[in-house]
Symmetry: C2
Subunit: 267 residues, 2 copies
DNA sequence: AAAGCATGATCCATATTGTGGATCGCAGTC
DNA sequence: GACTGCGATCCACAATATGGATCATGCTTT
């Protein structure tokens, strides 16, 4: 019972549903040009016929589509509907949407909205600004363990000290395996810095030259933890601009938290 | 075996997935205060233990959440993630989002974005303006057969004549059963009017006093059919204001279609 | 307060359902 | 023209989901 997810949530009942969900997650994380059957097979560890059967079922349900010529699989329109309805409930994303757009426009760099999901941060939205040098380390749908990346750091830093320690301990194994360039000391330092400054700064730890700046959004209920962040090439996050970006980010976070406090989200 | 979940897509393989999808659709269509197990059972026709087992599996997958005290079920955060990724692929909603907001703000009434899904129009987004008299006939997640409501009419009117006839014929049964107040003649008249005017006007056919105005959005590929629409009380859609609203709607539709033509949606 | 009712959670023997090794089919490539 | 990689599909096997019946719980009734 060290960590769940990635190691499966086996257990209860109907497990084709769990498998289907895993496939959907994988499709969601894939870039725009679709996913091949083989990729699904090797990613999920399921057999080829099983993967295909599940995909067919998902297609019948409208949650997945298959391009008739390339034979690649995509998320389908029904997924769009689901997400839209869910977003309604999780008001955060709906409210954050415009803020992310504004951030991308005003800074010219890439802006993100991520939410916490178990021990991971999932990127729900990416918007690009018009500056031609862009970091493509993070895309919509990507999922990194808490503690990794600007958002992962900001989210950890926003937790009570004990919880933060627990989360990082739980994630240590995954991080060690998937991000060998990260040491626990680097993470702890960055978290400490984020606590002090009020925002996290990732100085190219994940990928050299790709810097990130993140600030957590805390809902009134404690849950609904989200994070706004920016990514840019190193030269665009030097101290003077860092301060400027942090101020913009702080402005959006404030606006968001204020709207979250308004009692009437769902008219 | 008369109907399963609105006619069913029975057939292929792994059918727990189809059932799960039906449950998800139902949850998506439910209002904000969650869904009781009993409602799921009676809606889907599944047995109580089966429904519960599927719900448990969906909970394990993060697609559903259960409120521990009320025992009601909601869409979970993972659904949000999925939808966000799918929306990326279906650029339409992403692009439409702001337009719907603007429409709601500028008109003061309720604005909607709907997409065509098989023979149905699904409401992906609803934004309310600040006018205190509002129509709550249509909510996000709702699904009406094509031919019903302002959007359903606009979408049919946007089809080639033959397809439109085919769709209406296919939907006649459902419409007859679920919307007894609608006659085929009324639908045909409204469609004809929409073809002539370039937008549809629903004069309270679904619900007395609740008027709607819709205009289809056609993507460059023919697919991606969406629809922007407005709903208001009857007094707010009299001829002079109707023209004004139609102009606003047309402006947003034009903007949207133009952005759809830009080749680079996914940077 | 106790009985009654409605709704959710759970058991467990049954058979329906999904499983995956092996096979076939189709492109693109050498 | 044979090869290779990948997707689609068969089919005997057994693991899996199924649902009638039962128990648990919270809320209303008199």
């Amino acid at each position: 019972m060290t960590n769940a997810a990635t190691v499966s949530e086996a257990a209860a009942g109907t497990q084709s549903i769990g498998r289907a969900a895993a496939i959907l997650r994988f499709l969601a994380a894939s870039p725009g040009h679709g996913t091949a059957l083989g990729a699904v097979v090797s990613e999920t560890g399921l057999s080829k016929p099983t993967s295909r059967r599940i995909l067919l079922a998902l297609i019948a349900a409208g949650l997945v589509e298959q391009d008739p010529v390339s034979r690649r699989y995509f998320l389908g329109p029904e997924a769009c509907v689901l997400g839209s309805a869910a977003a309604h409930r999780f008001g955060l994303h709906r409210l954050a949407f415009e803020g992310v757009l504004r951030l991308a426009r005003e800074t010219g760099d890439a802006a993100f909205f991520q939410i916490r999901r178990n021990f991971f941060a999932v990127c729900l939205q990416r918007e690009d600004g018009d500056y031609p040098l862009r970091s493509h380390v993070l895309a919509a749908g990507d999922r990194h363990p808490l503690g990794v990346g600007a958002a992962g750091i900001a989210l950890v830093a926003a937790l009570p000290e004990d919880d933060a320690r627990a989360v990082l301990a739980d994630n240590a194994e995954i991080i060690g395996a998937r991000y060998p360039m990260l040491t626990r000391a680097m993470i702890d330092d960055t978290v400490a810095e984020a606590r002090a400054k009020g925002y996290s700064l990732n100085r190219g730890l994940l990928f050299p030259g790709s810097w990130g700046l993140g600030m957590a959004v805390r809902g009134p209920h404690g849950r609904h933890d989200g994070c706004l962040s920016l990514a840019a090439v190193e030269s665009r996050m030097q101290p003077e601009r860092e301060a400027e970006l942090a101020a913009l980010l702080a402005g959006e976070v404030r606006r968001l938290e204020q709207r979250l406090r308004e009692p009437i989200h769902n008219p």
